[in-house]
Amino acid sequence: MSLATLQAIESFVSGHAERTAMVRHRALDSQPLMVCAFQLGGEPFSAAAIAWGRSVDDMHLAVAGDPRNRDLLFAALEPFARDFCAYFEAPWAHAQVEAGPRGGGMQLLAPTSPQIVVPNRQTVMLLGRLGRRLRFLPTDGPQPADPIIVRHGAHLAFLREHGPVAGQQLIVDLDGLLDEHWGMALNATERSNLAALDAFIEPPAGVHGHLAAAQAELEPLGPRPDAEQDARVEPLIQDFHRRRKGSTSPRVVESLLSPIREHYRELLERTWETSWRCLERERGWPQARHVPERMEADRREYSFHMEGVEAQIRRRSRRTMPQAIAHVRKLSDAESVVATQRAADDPLKMVDLIASGQAIIGIVDRIDLGHTILGPSRAVSRPLAYLRLDGECFLDIGEVVHWDQQPQKSYEVRSIGTRGGREEVCLMLENPQASLPEAGERACFFAGDVKSRFTPSPSRDIPWTHRTPEAQAETPDLEDNEEQAA
C-alpha cells in the first residue's frame, strides 16, 4: 500500500484533493517566464499561438495565422524569441569564474538561473520539438534565419533535454508539479490534465472534485486543440489565406490576423489564468530543505549550456551511444537521489519508505557516547544510538542508514533485537563529528543516498549489448526547402 493510494481514497470521500507533501519540493521563482501554447491540429513542429510573460497581468501573444507556412511562423516567433532570450540569457551576463562542486576545476558560472513555467509536459515537448527545428537553421545562404531564432531554438532544445532530470527547476511543468504534491481519485492519464488537477484541488462549492475535474478536462488547455476548437478556427484561417493572397509581408498579415488572434486569445487566457493560479497556490507552501542544492545543480547545467551557445558549439542532434548510456545513467541516478532527498525532507514522503521497510522510525532509548572501535592505529570513538521502533525493522545488519535531521552523516545497523516487546535497533555513528539525536527523542533513519555518487564512465566504447548494425546518419537541419506545406 502506498500513501498515494490512501490519499486518493480520502480525496474521494472528502471531495477534494489531499496533500501528499508537507513542503514544496521545487523552487518557484517569484517572477518566472510563463509560456503557454496551442498547436494547429497535430502539426508537430510549429505553434499556432504562444502566450508568454512574467506575471499574470503581463500576457504577450504571438499568433502565426497559419503556422504551416514557414515565413508566417518565423515572423510570429520572432518577438517571442527576443523576449525569451532576453530573460533566459540575462543571468549569464553576470557570469563569474568559480570553483567546481567539490573544489574541482574552475568554471564560468552565472549567479542565478532562469525559470520557465509551462502548463503541462506536452508543452515542454512541443517547445522541445520547436527548438529542435530552430537550433540548426543556417544563418546564411538562400534562406538565412535570424540568429536570435537559432539561439532561441538552442535554449528550447536544451530545456527539453534537461526537463526529465528529476527535481530540476529550469523548466517547470505545472501538471507534474501538482501531481508531485497532491493525491486524488484520478488515474495517471487524467492527472496529466492541468485543468482537471486544478478542479480537484479547488472544486466549486458543493461540487465533488472528481466531477469538477471531469467537467474541467473537456476543454483542452493546449497545446493539442480538440476538434471543436480547431473547427472554429478553420474558416478564419481560410479567410485569412484568401485575403492575404499569398503575401507574407508583416504589413499585410498583421492587419488580417485579428480574428485568428482573438480566437487564440480566448483559448490562451483560460490556460494563462489556470496556470498562474496553480503556480501561486504552490508558491504558498514552504520550500523543502534540499531544493537549494538542486538549484545549484541547475545553475551549473544552465551555465554549461550558455557557455556552449556563446562559443557557438554545435551540439549533436542525436546522442552517440556512449553519450546516451551516460545520459540514462545520469537520469536514473538523479531519480533515486531526488526521491531520497524528498523523503528526508518531508515526513509525508517518508511514509512510503517506512511502509516498504527502507526506513525505520521510533524513540531513541539511550545513547552510548563512550563506545569505541579499533581503528587502524588506535581506538576511535563510534557512538551508539538505540532506537525502539514503532513497527518492524526490515533493514539488514551492516546496512548504512541516515538520520533525517542530518542526512549526510551515516550510521551502520549493528544489531536488531527485542526489548519490552518492541524491536530495538542499535545504530553506530560512522562520522564522530556529527551530532546525535537525544534520548527520548523520536527519530527516523532511512537507507539510500541524498548525495549523488554518479561519475560519468570514461569509456567511449559501445557495450556489446547496445551495438547496432549501422549507425544513423545525422541530419541537423530539419527544414525541407523544396517541400513546404501551405
Binding site: F12, L40, A227, D230, A344, L348, Q405, D480, A485
Partner: protein, 355 residues
Amino acid sequence: MAGLAFAEGVDLDKLLAGTPLAAAFGQSGFAFARGTTFEARVKDDQGDGHCRYGPLLELLREHLDFELSDVRTINLRTLHPGKSREAMAARAKETRRLLREMARCKEAPPNLIDGAVLEETVGGRTAYYEADGIAFRLRAQLVIIEIKSFPIVDGQAADPQALASALDQGALYILLTRRTLASEGFPPELVSTRMALVCPQNVGMRPCLHLKEVERRMRRIEALLESVPELAAVRASLGGLDATAVFETVSNRRRSADDRLRELHGLCDAVGTVFGPSCDGCGMYRFCREREFHAGSPNLLDEAASRELVGIPNLTRASALAAGAEPTPVEAPAARALAAIAALRDDALARVPPS
C-alpha cells in the same frame, strides 16, 4: 459490455453522441487534413483519385529492390469507391483474387495493391480492414505498407504513441493477409513479418520508409482476436435480453439524452462493465467512469492502486477500514495495509519537516 458491443457491431465512439457523456475526443480537421495531404503526396494523387505512386515506388525501389520498370499497380479504391459494406465486400473479394495471383506467381500479377481490404470473422461477424498498400515482388515476400503522417526526426518517431498504434495496425494487416493466403492453401510465410512504414521525414512532407519487425505484436493481436466472444454465445448468456434493440434505442438521437443513458445503464447493469485507466480512448469512457464514480469504485484510481485494494468493495469502505473499522475476512489483507499506512500518515503529520 465491450465484448457485447463488439459482437453486436456497435460503434461505441458514436453510441453516445448528443448526450452530455459523449466522448470528448475527435480528430481536429487539421490533423485529418495533414494525414490526407501526406498520403496524397506519397501516392502522387492527381486529385481525382487517380494515383501515379511516384514517390512511393521510389521508396520501394530503394528499400525493397523493386525493379525500375515492370511496376503494375492496382487501385481498389477507384474500382469500388465509397466505404459502404458492399464496396468493402467487393474490394475484399478482389483483394483475395489478387493475393491468389501473387501467390501463384503466374503471368504478371500486380505488385502494388492500393486500398486492399481484408476480411475477418470476429466474434461471429465479418469485419473489414483497409490496408494502405500491399507490395509484392517476384521471388520475394509480400510487404504490407502503412502510410502515416507523424514525422521521423533523427531516426526516431516524434510521437511514440502514434508509432505504436501504426505498428499494431500493420501487424493486424499482416496477420489478416496471412490468414487469407492460408485459407487459399498457400503458406503464410509468403507475407513478411516486417512492415513498411512510410512517414514524413523531418519538418516537411518528404516521405521516408522504414521496415519494422512486428511479429511479436502479431502474436498479441492474434490472442486478442481469439478472445472476442462469439455473438451467439453472448446472446445466449443474456437470458432473453434483446441487446440489439437496446443499442438501437441508445443510439437513437431523436430520443432524450436521459432516456438513452437510462437504457444503457440498464444494459450495463445486466451485462456488467470493466473499467480502468486503459479504457482511455473508448467512446464510453466518460459514461463508464461516471458509473464507477457513483459506485465509489477503486477502478477510478491507477491500476496499481486498485490492485492494492483487492477485496474492498468501494472507496468509502476503504476509507472506513483505514480509520479502523472491523474488516471482513476478504477485506482483511488490504485493510491491514490501509490501517498501517494511515497510522504512518497520522504520525507523519504530527512531525515537523526537517530544515
